[in-house]
């Protein structure tokens, strides 16, 4: 089970890296979303997968049964989802504004902070 999920996470990572390397901003953004999901899958597998028992302490028992699912990765993933969602929302707005202000979504042509024709520093006094 873990092996299959690891493979799936690996596929996610591969797709994410491929998209992030694109010079079109919108693909980079989709790549970042995929990367976030790949990480969430990794976290889930990190806590080991069991399907038998939900992590709820039954009436009359005082501890979790041994084969219960691990609740901690779910808490971690929930935190990570909330954080990556908010950061991604900000990034979308920023990218849209960049598209409006800079007039392009091609990162090769976004040379406003580092102009191509920046002069060399003066050589003499």
């Amino acid at each position: 089970m873990e092996a299959w999920f690891s493979l799936l996470a690996g596929l996610f990572f591969a797709a994410a890296v491929y998209l992030i390397l694109s010079k079109h901003l919108i693909r980079t953004l989709i790549g970042i979303v995929l990367l976030g999901n790949a990480v969430n899958l990794t976290l889930l597998v990190a806590g080991r997968l069991t399907r038998e028992v939900p992590p709820i302490i039954a009436d009359g028992l005082d501890r979790l049964p041994g084969n219960a699912a691990n609740p901690l990765p779910q808490a971690l993933i929930l935190t990570a989802i909330v954080i990556s969602f908010s950061l991604f929302a900000f990034l979308l707005v920023l990218a849209y504004r960049a598209y409006r202000v800079l007039g392009t979504d091609d990162t090769d042509r976004m040379r406003f902070a580092e102009p191509v024709d920046e002069p060399a520093p003066p050589k003499g006094y």
Partner: protein, 517 residues
């Protein structure tokens, strides 16, 4: 058949309420978060926002000072959330390394806030600067003081979102461009960190740093800890702008207004450095030793990129971006050396660099404002108009190049000596070479922008503003003071190195009754 329905959880709960010293550990992050929320509510009253932000950051400096006194007196202090003892609850642990960084960060933020208050007096319009500044400080303080590695990730994200907001505050096209590159690459770096945390949890089953330190020896034989450490190295190296993942820094740091750039240069890369020190020196020391050749190579490449990049810039703000990178390289050189000289030197250099880089960005921002340009080709005549300011800048330039008698000299001397002691002459040589390149770059700035008479066609040099010079003097006093009297800081840094390298006191503070179940 039914077991007793009353569960005894007393062993997992802290006894009694937290002491005042323990509250001090969470106060920096908590007070900043709270004040940030209050400042958002005062959006339409910039005056009041300003006043509260300055007062809040002064309070932060005070709290960090008290915490430093406490840690110096009793060793590391731990506070647990919701009374759940570690490894169940999230722990905040302040040791000397964390407190020193937090204090330096608070000082830097206080000075930047003062400077920004002066800078913004003319505009009179409210915006998100102060709330985001406080939010950033919550993230930075939390990152320096937390004892839980997932919690560290959360604080990273808090400071990241605040920094996104700060860097994008403004109308310029270059700023949007810089902000976008900064945002994408830093988000990827933080995601890499989260991957490393996931694998760490898969290996250890715990996220508390003290617990990891205790469990590591048993797992060292079977678990892929070197790979894990390498992943942390990549993630934090990207945060700290180490070669070859440094290109976001010179693309972004010169675009926002000087106060924001100064804040970023002082704090953000150093949070990466701190996390790197914490993970490699405290959690995985044998793995750090195995990765030493890699870290040393990265350090040399980073220092030379910084030095050569600084030489190649015409825009003096962009030059400073490369100076930051060269400083990161020096810290990494210390990390690759290890031992009291290497780690102590790296820590000293990181603290010095926080103060100095902020001062440099503020000074260059003011120089560009009064000179009317940031281009080396256009600037001139600053010395003739403001000799005192030129002297102040020269002091900062010398400190950044690592020349005596300023605070940059001592950590560099420590690191060069540590390198020569282990026979790493090439590392020592690279440090000296990068210092030499920076000396040339700064010498040229002083020659062109300050000494050279102004061109006839150039606009006249403006008057200085005391709102900019006052805060700058405060930082310069630290640079000169710790250059002239380094003993106090030297001794404290060495103590910090000992608790980081041999974390018995740290473990004792997190688990007072010995090992956890």
């Amino acid at each position: 058949m039914a077991a007793s329905s009353v569960i005894d959880v007393s062993a997992a709960l802290a006894a009694g309420p937290a002491t005042a010293a323990q509250w001090l550990v969470v106060l920096p992050a908590a007070s900043c978060l709270l004040l940030s929320a209050v400042l958002v509510m005062l959006w339409r009253q910039p005056r009041l926002q300003q006043l509260l932000a300055v007062a809040g950051l002064a309070f932060l400096v005070l709290v960090d000072l008290l915490l430093l006194r406490q840690v110096l007196a009793t060793g590391p202090v731990t506070m647990v959330m919701g009374r759940w003892l570690p490894p169940f609850g999230i722990a905040f642990t302040a040791d000397l390394t964390g407190v020193l960084m937090a204090l330096a960060a608070a000082l830097v933020a206080f000075v930047v806030c003062l400077s920004a208050a002066g800078e913004r007096e003319t505009s009179g319009r409210g915006d998100g600067f102060y709330p985001m500044l406080l939010m950033l400080m919550a993230g930075v303080s939390g990152a320096f003081l937390t004892g839980d590695i997932f919690n560290l990730y959360v604080w990273f994200e808090v400071l990241l979102i605040a920094s996104f907001g700060l860097i994008a505050l403004g109308p310029e096209r270059a700023q949007i461009d810089g902000a976008l590159k900064y945002a994408v690459l830093n988000l990827v770096a933080t995601t890499l960190f989260l991957i490393a945390v996931g694998i760490l949890y898969a290996v250890f089953g715990t996220l508390n740093m003290a617990d990891i330190v205790m469990k590591a020896p048993d797992l060292r034989e079977t678990a892929p800890l070197v790979t894990l450490t390498a992943l942390f190295l990549l993630a934090f190296g990207m945060k700290a702008a180490a070669f070859p993942v440094n290109f976001w820094l010179p693309a972004a740091y010169h675009t926002p207004r000087p106060a924001v750039a100064a804040l970023f240069a002082g704090l953000l890369t150093k949070v990466g450095i701190y996390a790197l020190l914490r993970v490699t020196v405290m959690l995985f020391p044998p793995e750090r030793e195995q990765l030493e050749p890699l870290i040393a190579t990265v350090a040399v490449a980073t220092m030379l990129t910084g030095g050569l990049g600084a030489l190649a810039q015409n825009d003096i703000r962009r030059m400073l971006g490369f100076v930051v990178i060269a400083g990161i390289g020096t810290v990494l050189a210390g990390l690759s050396l290890g031992g009291p000289g290497g780690i102590g030197g790296a820590l000293f250099y990181a603290l010095h660099s926080m103060v100095l880089m902020t001062a440099l960005y503020l000074a260059i921002g003011e120089a560009g404002r009064i000179g009317g340009s940031f281009s080396l080709a256009a600037l001139g005549g600053l010395y003739g108009r403001h000799a005192g300011f030129a002297g102040l800048c020269l002091c900062l330039f010398f400190a950044a190049s690592g020349l005596p008698p300023f605070s940059g000299f001592w950590p560099k001397a420590m690191l060069v000596k540590a390198a020569l002691d282990v026979g790493a002459w090439w590392l020592a040589g690279a440090m000296l070479l990068s210092g030499f390149l920076l000396t040339i770059a700064f010498g040229r700035v002083f020659l062109m922008a300050f000494w050279r008479p102004a061109k006839e066609t150039a606009p006249p040099v403006l008057a200085l503003r005391w709102q900019a010079i006052g805060p700058l003097l405060l930082l310069a006093a630290l640079v000169v003071g710790f250059g002239a009297f380094p003993e106090l800081l030297l001794r404290t840094v060495q103590d910090a190195e000992i608790t980081l390298d041999n974390p018995q006191a740290y473990l004792g503070s997190v688990f007072p009754q010995g090992a956890a179940p």
